[in-house]
Every structure is written in structure tokens, then in C-alpha cells.
Symmetry: C5
Subunit: 262 residues, 5 copies
Amino acid sequence: MFFAQSRGAMDISTILGIIFGFGLVISAMGQGGGLTWFFNVPSAMIVVGGTIGAVFINYPLSDILGVAKVAKNVFFQQELKTETAIRMLIDMSKIARRDGILALENKLEEIKDPFFTKGVMLMIDGVEPAALSRILNTELEYVAERHRMGAEIFMTMGNFAPAMGMMGTLIGLVKMLMQMDDPSSIGPAMAVALLTTFYGVILANLIFLPIAGKLKTRSAAELTVKQLIIHGILSVQSGDNPRILEEKLHSFVSPDERKSTF
Amino acid sequence: MFFAQSRGAMDISTILGIIFGFGLVISAMGQGGGLTWFFNVPSAMIVVGGTIGAVFINYPLSDILGVAKVAKNVFFQQELKTETAIRMLIDMSKIARRDGILALENKLEEIKDPFFTKGVMLMIDGVEPAALSRILNTELEYVAERHRMGAEIFMTMGNFAPAMGMMGTLIGLVKMLMQMDDPSSIGPAMAVALLTTFYGVILANLIFLPIAGKLKTRSAAELTVKQLIIHGILSVQSGDNPRILEEKLHSFVSPDERKSTF
Amino acid sequence: MFFAQSRGAMDISTILGIIFGFGLVISAMGQGGGLTWFFNVPSAMIVVGGTIGAVFINYPLSDILGVAKVAKNVFFQQELKTETAIRMLIDMSKIARRDGILALENKLEEIKDPFFTKGVMLMIDGVEPAALSRILNTELEYVAERHRMGAEIFMTMGNFAPAMGMMGTLIGLVKMLMQMDDPSSIGPAMAVALLTTFYGVILANLIFLPIAGKLKTRSAAELTVKQLIIHGILSVQSGDNPRILEEKLHSFVSPDERKSTF
Amino acid sequence: MFFAQSRGAMDISTILGIIFGFGLVISAMGQGGGLTWFFNVPSAMIVVGGTIGAVFINYPLSDILGVAKVAKNVFFQQELKTETAIRMLIDMSKIARRDGILALENKLEEIKDPFFTKGVMLMIDGVEPAALSRILNTELEYVAERHRMGAEIFMTMGNFAPAMGMMGTLIGLVKMLMQMDDPSSIGPAMAVALLTTFYGVILANLIFLPIAGKLKTRSAAELTVKQLIIHGILSVQSGDNPRILEEKLHSFVSPDERKSTF
Amino acid sequence: MFFAQSRGAMDISTILGIIFGFGLVISAMGQGGGLTWFFNVPSAMIVVGGTIGAVFINYPLSDILGVAKVAKNVFFQQELKTETAIRMLIDMSKIARRDGILALENKLEEIKDPFFTKGVMLMIDGVEPAALSRILNTELEYVAERHRMGAEIFMTMGNFAPAMGMMGTLIGLVKMLMQMDDPSSIGPAMAVALLTTFYGVILANLIFLPIAGKLKTRSAAELTVKQLIIHGILSVQSGDNPRILEEKLHSFVSPDERKSTF
């Protein structure tokens, strides 16, 4: 119930950025007619295909496929907010102190975050604190590594795309220069040649590099929540006072955003 | 009273830089007539809009909105100077030793800096040194992180702006090359196409990158004052001799600027 | 038997990348006839020869020759997968506990990986744990250094190739500009001049830089398997329980890929 | 007396570099007449003014004014050479051991370096070793920071100058393209437009960046001498044998340059 | 006798690289006649002179003169190979154990490497191990620093050369654009203008940057041999068993290249 709303909420700034950026670019292209001049399938294929080709040579298949998992973070808000997690953990702390850790089983279905669920289940199964901490932290490390790799792959695509655009422009220029019989065709031929550079610049600067940037900040936020959950679960398990638990978890939150429930 | 003047003083070098830089550029544009050639709303919208779009995709909304808070540092001098803070702390030290820490309540209204005020209030409330230090240092960390993020966002804008300028120029060139029927229009069309590159270069090199630079140096200065305040408050709380307090705090000041009050 | 299949399996993503990248580029070059325009032996020799020349001046001969050994990693999957290594080590652990370490001699021919073989032979020869660990770790370090050098050399080639392309284009332009008597030859002459830049961009962005990238990730994977083997052999030698051994080795594997055999 | 000569000696390599670099550039500009073509006050004002403007926005005023103090290091040799400092310190060591530390007062006027003078005066005043070391080391840190900031500001100028040159060229090109009525004026107009790029490249590569480089190496040398002085003074104060003192100080000098006086 | 051959052997890869690189470039320039078009003394003087000028402003004279000492490493193989050094040290170890350290004096003339000679002489002179280690390690540090500075200066030249080439091209373009009366002279004038860019690219990418790269790898190899010598001499001095000495020194050699003499 708690997370039904926050889960899947779109990332507002990504959507605003896309509308703003592409809206202005497309309206600039269309201004004074001629929007169709900017669409050229072979040119797009050189830039997109060349970039994908370079990335496939550059990374193992498993890493490239893992990008899809990570890329959704660009469009969707972080599923579990720190404040919700803190509130849930305080609730659990109260239940655990009153009715014992096994009573947390009823809480399990309320948790939508799989990492959180796993941690609580391990606690209910009676896994020792040291083992529980090790298991969750190892998983955290692999999540961090997957995020890092996702951001790095988009960064690499942002570096290759302009080069592929330049390559396409050189192909177009060579063709144009080789057949300059008809002067009236030089202009349009050169325009088409420039399109690949244009695609390369757009792909890099409005898609790949900004996505790499957002993945980095999103990853930091998601890892902070996961660390908060690990600390919270260990604290619940050790039977900490809910008040002390809240104080501990607040160190993960900026002072402005702290809301005490006491 | 103490801070009435220093607070809100404009940053002289920023103002000089703007007058110098933009003055020369604008006078160069206007020289020999034709200043209006350089103003083109659609071109400006591509560069500014594209840069904003890329930054919105690149950062979460909360970080982008936080930039406003930080950006004022570029135009206003640091509100609280080290020498004023040292003088205030020495005063407090004397009062605390003579009349007890509670007597500092009268001093509170003299302090205009919110971080300083918070520290003194915590001291008056009798918060223990360890907790006081932890609270203020956590706040310091969050301020530092906000500053770092502010400088980084301006740096990112400085990197995207020239790319957006190039993108706009490519749009203009493609349009020009596609309709070269009237030779006399080629010159002006190309001039307009170059305008976006021009805007991108100016935005990056006279606005975004220098602002990023100033935010970095300003942030360092502001954090030094805040650290000085934390050390000073802890020293006042522990009842240090004012002379020793001054010596301690002078390690935060360059030897040339140290003015002993003893 | 175990490794017969995994050994020598081609790296799928490299092959896909080459087909994708070069396929699209070549089809773009050939589109509308004129594929032969893009093949020019002297131009290719300037770029390839210049890059090789610069690399030979830049590195000692032994390092350059060592690249060949490393470069095969780009086209072939890592020979020994972590799961296979773990299964082998658990088998060995069971045999060693039941029949003694000398009984592992029969297992030797099943191991195709030379590093793994060397480790098991040292164990059978009764080398002490400390010495065994030191010998294998030193070899690991030299493998890592050879990998690092391989990736660095390809990165250096990726940096020199575009410069050599530009150099070739300048040579072509100077020649063209020196003999502009026949206007009809200007176009083709300039096209040929641009070819070297084109070759430089392709070599760097579809070959050298992506290969450097894959060598880096492949090296990390190979070193992880080798570290797993060292830990596994030391554990077998000390007579660890197979279950504990599996748990130890699973820390080298992402949680998703762990398959317990118990 | 000792330092009369070494102080203020011009830095030979800077002077040679200026003569070489600018001599060749100016003779190349003048070759075949037309030196005046390269002087254009408005173009120079855009590049110099724009760069200064950007630097003023980028740095606080105090840091910019501090550059002047540091920039003289580019033209003048380091005032105090290591060998002179070592000889002076050995002399002092002998005097101090024979006649006591107070006898060093006669030596004071021989020392021209203010840092050295300050150290000796503190020693004569009987400041304790720990305090003396702390005072001199703090001053050393602030000198190092001022040097670092000086080199950084010149580096920043070297980065902004070519961008300002490009901005000026774009202004010139837009103006030229907007009024192409008279074909004979296109050439000279474009030549003038290129002048700002030319100024930007020269300023960055023959002035700002090389100066930043020299400030870095000079700073390292000056800080080494200051560290040598701190060690030497502490050694004199503790009454070390002159022979041991020399051996200690020789660790600051390259083996080739060590000249023992014993 | 031992080193007569290895000393002064040319570095094969440098020579191959020069032949390959320059051979191809020069044959490309000469192809179809017109090799002389590429030689232009004033153009070469701008690029070479400008680069030298910038480097002289950038570095103190002593560092620039020190480059000559280091640059020979690019053309000559490392004088003392690790295997030769190990064999020599094992011989010495046997002699020292049989006849005493003084008996090593006869071996001195066999050693051609001055660093090795110095180490053995210190040992014969009876310098204590701690002092011997300190003296040799200090010398090692200064050698490393001189190497680092040598590579850095070539790297700096590689960065300045293309900028000087661009500066020369701008000078040529301005001159050409200022006197466009004779259309037939435009081509050759532009060709000459491009020559400086061409020289800058060649100097940077076929000379300065590859040399900087080789100096770095050569330096690493030379420092490894020197460290091996220090360890070896200390081991001989302490009377280690030759077998143990060999084992110790083999940790400096890649496993593939180890050749035991026992």
C-alpha cells in the first residue's frame, strides 16, 4: 500500500528535458518548412549502427544486455523514497519489540522493494547479523557495479556517436566530390553529408551523455536508500529503540528533509 | 550590526568581469553598424533550450532547483568574513567566561549568519560538545555537497552549450544547402547558421564555465568560515581563554590577514 | 572434457559489433555505386603505416609483440568460466578429502587452463601454501601487467590513427592546391585527400578504441577467474569442507549467477 | 653581500623563449611585407578583454591581484639558491655553537630572503622549536597555495583565450556574410575575422600556458629552498654539528650539485 | 667484457618506427612528383622555433638541458639487461663468500654501468648497509625525477607543436586573404599556409609524443634494473647464499624470462 504510488512515478526532469530539448530542436528544424530534409534513414543507420557496432566490440554481451535493466532508472523515479523506508523501518522496530521479529511476516507484503523484502526475510529466517550484513552488502556491491557499468556504456556511446557522425559525413563528402558534374546537386548532397554529423551531435548531447549523467546521480540515490535499509534492518534485529533508530537513519537524509515522527 | 555592511555586498570581480567581457563583445558586435544582426530569437532558443533540456535529462529536478540557492554566491560576496567571525567568537568567549554560556542569548540577534546562529543556539541549549560537533559537521557536509553539485551543473552546462551551438549551426547549414537557388541569400543564411555556434561559445566561456569556477572558490571560502565557526563554538563551550581561542582560529587565516586584538 | 566447448568459443558481441558496424559503413559507402572510390592503397598505407610507426617509436619491441598474445581475447570468450572452475574445485576438494591430494593427478588432464594446471601441479608437488600463493600471485601480476599494456597500446593506436589521417589529408590538400590548373580534377583530388581522415576515424573508432575497451573488461574477468582459482586451490590444499569452499568461491560471482550444487 | 648577485637575476630560459618564439612569429608575419595587417586593436581587445572578463568572473578579486606577486617568478631566477642557503646555514651553525644563538643577530643583515630572515629572527627571539616549525610551515603552506592559485589562473587564461579568439572570428564572419555586396572586400574582411583566432592561439600557447608551466616548476624549486631553510634553522637551533647539518641539507640537493665545504 | 655488446645497442623498435613512419609519409609526399612542395624553411622555423620558444618559457634552463641526457634512451637499448645484472650479482655473491668483499675489486672493471659500479665501490669501501641503501635510493629518486621531467618536456612539445602549426597557418591565411588580386596564386598560397599545420601534426605525432611514450617505458625498465642492483648489492653484502640471492632477484623478472643458473 505504502509504495503503490511512488513506484513507477515518472522522472519529471527527464520528461521536461526531453520535451524542452527535442521540442526546440524539432521546431527549429521545421521552421520555414523543410522538416523532412532532416530525416534520412541511411544517415541515421550509419550513426546509430556504427555506435552500436563500436559498443558491441567494446563490451561483453552480458554487460550490454544489463544496460536495459539500468536504463529504466532514467525515466522512473527511484521506487523507494528515504522517508518511506524510514517510516517502514520504525514501524517494524515497534512491531519487533512488541511481538517479536517473526511478527514482521505480516509486514512483508507491504514492501514492494525486492532488496528490502530480501533483507526482512533474512531477518525473519533468523540469519545472524554478521551474515545478514555480508549478504546484503555483497548484493549492494553488485548493484553498484551494474549501475557504474550502465553509466559507463552510455558515456562510451556518447563518445562514439560524434565520431560515427563525422565518418558518415566523410563518406558523403567523398561521394559528392567524386561526382561534381551537376553543380545544382552539390548543395543538397552536402546537406545530406552533414546530416550524420548532426545526428551524432544530437545523439551524444541530448541522449547518451545526459542519460549517463542521470544514471550516475540516480545510482548514488538508490545506493543511499539501500545502505539506509541495511542499517535499519540490523538496528531492528538488534532490538534498538525506535527513537534511536530514527536518529541513526536520519544521518542518511539531508537536514532539510528530515521529518521526525516523534 | 556587525554584518549589516558585509552582508549582500556585491562581488566586485564578477561585476567587473561582466562589464569588461560583455562590454567589449557587444561593442565589437556593434562596431560598423549591424548590432541587430547578432540577435536572433530562434537561434538563442535552440542553444539555451537545448542546453537546459540536456541538463534536465542529466540531473534530478531537486538538484537543478538547488542551483538557484547556490548561484547567488557568484554575485554576492561571502556574507560573513573570517575576521568578523573571529572577533564575534572572542567576544562570546569573554562573555561566556564572565557571565556563563546562557548570557550569550543577547548576542544572538547580532549574528546574521544562520549557520552561526544555529551553532550558538545549540550551545545555549546545552547540547553536548560531541553532539554539537556532529550536528554542525553534518550540516557542513550537506552544504559542501550542494555547492559541489552547483558548480558541477554549471560545468555541465558549459560543456553542453557549444555542442548545442554546433547542432544549431548544422540545422542552419542543411537548410541553406537545400535551397541554394538565390545566391544572394547564401551569405545571410550562413551568418544566421553561425549565430548558434557564437551563442554556444559565449554562453560557455563568458557565463557557465566562469560561474562554475567562481562557485568552486567561493564554496571553499564559505566552508572555511563554517569550519572556523565550529572550532570557535566548541572552544567557547569548553571555556577556552580568549587569547588561545584567537590563536586557534588564526590557523584558518592567511598570515598576512591576521589581526590580533590583544 | 569439461572445457572442450567453452574453450575457443567466439566472443559473440565482438562478432555482432563487427558485422553491424562494418556492414552498415560498407553498405553506406556502396549505396548509389562507387564503393571503389573508398579504396585507395597509398592513403591506407599512410594511416596504417604512420600509426604503426608511431607505436613502434612509442613502445619497446617486446611490448608490441606481446600485444598479439593479448589481442586474441577480443575475439574469443574467456576460456574458463567461473561456474566451471567452481565445479572443478569442488570435485577436487571431495577427491582430496577422500583419497588425498596426490589423487588429483587423474584430474589434471581434465583441466585445459594452463594457470589452473600449474596451480594444481604445485599443490600435488607439495609446495607449501605460502609459496604456492606467492608463485601464483606473482604470475597473476605479470598477466595483469601484460593485459594493461595490451589495452594501453590499442588506446595509443586509437589516439594516433586520426592524427595520421589528418596528416595524410594535409598532404593531399597541399598537392591539390599546388596544381589547380584543371578545375575538374579538384573534386576527386579533394575526395582522395579526405580518405585518409576517413580511414583514421574508422580505424580509431571501429577498431582500436573498442578493442582497447574490450581488452580492459576481458582482463578484469580473466583476473577474477584466476583469483578464484588461487583461493580455491589454497582451500583444497587446506582440506576445507566442499560446502565451505563453494561459499567462499561464490563471493567471486554475482548473486544472480550463483548455482549451488548442494 | 652573499645574495647581491643572485637576487634579481633574470630567468635566462624565459628570455630566450620570448626572443625565439616571438622573434620567429613576428619575422614570419613581416616576411614579404604586410606586418601591419596583423595589428588590429578591436580584435586584440575582444580576445584580451574577453579573457580578462572571464577570469574576473571566474576568480575572486583577491586571487587575481595576488597573481602579480607570483608572476614575477617567471622572469626572475629564484632569489636564493640552495647552495647559498646551505653555506649560510653552516656558517650560522658554527657561530651558534661558538658564540651562542644571540650572536646570529650580526648575520641578519646578510640575509636578503624575507622567509629566511623571519626564521632566524624567531630563533634569536628564543621561540621554541615546535612553535618555530609550526609558524614557518604554516607560512610555507600559504606560499604554496598562492603559487598554486597563480599557476591555475594562468592555465585558466590559456583555456579561455582560444575560445575568445573563436568568438571574435564568429563575430567577424557574421558581419562579413551579412554584407557580401563587394566581392573584393570579402578577402580582407575574412582576414580580419581570423585575426582574433590568431591572437587567441598566440596568447594561449606563447604566453599563458608556458607561464603557467614555469610557475609550477619555479614554485616547486622555491618551496624546496624554504623547506631546506626550515630544516636548517631547526638544526642550528638544536646545536647540531655543522658536518651533520650539511649532510642533512644535502638530501634537498641533487647528487650532482652537492658541494661539500668540509 | 660482459656488457660490451649490450651497451650501445640501438633500440630496434625506434628505428623500425622511424623507417616505417617517415618512409611512408615521405613516399606519400613524393608520389606523383612535387616532394619539394613540402619543404619550406620559414614554415618549419615557425613551428620548430615557436615550440622551442614555448618550451623555454615553460621550463627552467637546467631542466631543458637535462633532456639531452635522457633522450638518448629513445635510440639506445637499456645498457644493462636484468639477466646480465643477475648473473653478475650471483658471481659477486660467490666471490664475496669465498674470498671476502674486498676481492670484488677485480670485478669492478667488468661493470660498465656507473650506478652498479658506484654501488659495488661503496660496498668495498665498507659503507654500512643502511647508509649504502640510502645513498643508492636517493640517486635512484633523482634519476627517476630526471626521467619524468624528460618525458614531460617531450609531452609538452607534443602539445605545443600543433598549436604553433595552426598559428603559422593563420598567418599564411591572413596574408593570402589580404592580397587576392591574382586568383592563380590563391592555391599555392593556401598550400604553403597549410604546411605549418602539417609540420605541427608530424612533429607531435611522429616525434614528440612517441618519444615521450618511449621515455616513460624505458624509464620504468631502467629503474627496475637499478632497484634490482640495490637489492642485489645489499644481499651480497649480507653474505646471502647465491641460490637465495637468485630467488630474490627473480621477483624483478617476468616468469617467462627467468633463467636459473642452478
